[in-house]
Amino acid sequence: MRYSRTSVLRRKRSGAIAAKRLKSLLAADQTGFPPEVLEMLKDDLFRVISRYMDADASRLELFVRRSDETASEEDDGCPAALYTVIPVRSLRLKGTIA
């Protein structure tokens, strides 16, 4: 196979693709929510954050942890916790709000 220089640089590495696919897959498996519902949730989260700062939607992650791993006094009684990671390109507040 031959790649031009730009296509090699642009090609997303398959390891990263696998990790990303797995994270959404497991979130769907663990919550029992259909993947499209989780995508909607992600979109909504992204939209809210984007009102305040410059977030990166392509790298937003959502995952679930069972209670025994997250157990602390605050989440006593909850069977699981939902985590999200939303990378932001800049922590500066968006002009329209500031």
């Binding site: 590495r13 696998a18 990790a19 696919r21 497991l26 498996d29 942890r65 990671v85």
Partner: protein, 263 residues
């Protein structure tokens, strides 16, 4: 009292039997009286990987049904006198044994061995339930692939729900060349995704194929996979053996997520 460890994975073909054979051999090398139990009724394989297939007279189902005594069914290893195999039955199916019978079987071996290693069948049905019933510790084997990791996550969920006391992860068939160029998930990535402590990573090693051809496990040999399995055995005994695998992660955000998941 012995420690009872189940080797499981969910998905088939990720190296459960190879892992069982090598960990059993490694524990025996380290001086532990060890018995390996093949719980895959109907699809017997641990005997072949150990090179003991010609010595089978009785099997696990014979013991459970009282056709023979435990001592008659146990096969002593060719090389290590403190290592034994209880083979599975090839002509029966999973329903021949239930979890209570498996617990009693394991219980009967407790006095004679330091380690009881259960090689679990693929899947999450009866065979899995049988294998985990008597175990106090689980080793979940996976490979750095989407399907294997998904199944491992399901298995971890079931083990959690079944109150398994200790769960550790083994990442098998890691290809560092592929990880380095970004075309395989790293051990770190797999750990981040599954959130279970790692007990070892085994490189993809063609010596494994050769060892299976010959029916002689690699633990104790001077091969990359053999060394990795010996390291896992030492960690099982509580030794602090550092992980020497080169870990390449996908940049700052995967590190950040892993930090958050551990917090």
């Amino acid at each position: 009292m012995s420690e009872v460890i189940v080797v499981t994975s969910g998905k088939g073909g990720v190296g459960k039997t190879t892992t069982s054979a090598n960990i059993g051999t490694g524990l025996a090398i380290l001086g532990k009286r060890t018995v390996m139990i093949d719980t895959d009724i109907g699809l017997r394989n641990l005997d072949v990987v150990m090179g003991l297939e010609n010595r089978i007279v009785y099997n696990l189902v014979d013991v459970v049904e009282g056709n023979c005594r435990m001592k008659q069914a146990l096969i002593r290893d060719k090389r290590y006198p403190n290592l034994y195999l209880l083979p599975s039955a090839q002509t029966r199916d999973k329903s021949a044994v239930n979890p209570e019978q498996m617990m009693k079987l394991v219980d009967d071996l407790q006095d004679d061995f330091d380690y009881i290693l259960l090689d679990c069948p693929a899947g999450i049905e009866q065979g899995f339930k049988n294998a985990v019933a008597g175990a106090g510790r689980a080793l979940v084997v996976t490979t750095p692939e989407v399907s294997a990791i998904r199944d491992a996550d399901r298995i971890i969920g079931l083990l959690d729900a079944g109150q398994m006391k200790s769960i550790h992860l083994i990442v098998n068939r890691v290809r560092h060349d592929m990880v380095r160029r970004g075309d395989m998930m790293s051990v770190d990535d797999v750990m981040d995704i599954l959130a279970v402590p790692l007990i070892g990573a085994v490189p993809d090693d063609e010596a494994i194929v050769i060892s299976t051809n010959q029916g002689e496990p690699l633990a104790g040999t001077d091969t990359a996979a053999g060394q990795a399995f010996m390291d896992i055995c030492r960690r099982l005994l509580g030794e602090d053996v550092p992980l020497v695998l080169p870990n390449v992660s996908f940049g700052i955000f995967s590190r950040l997520t892993s930090f958050l998941k551990r917090a």
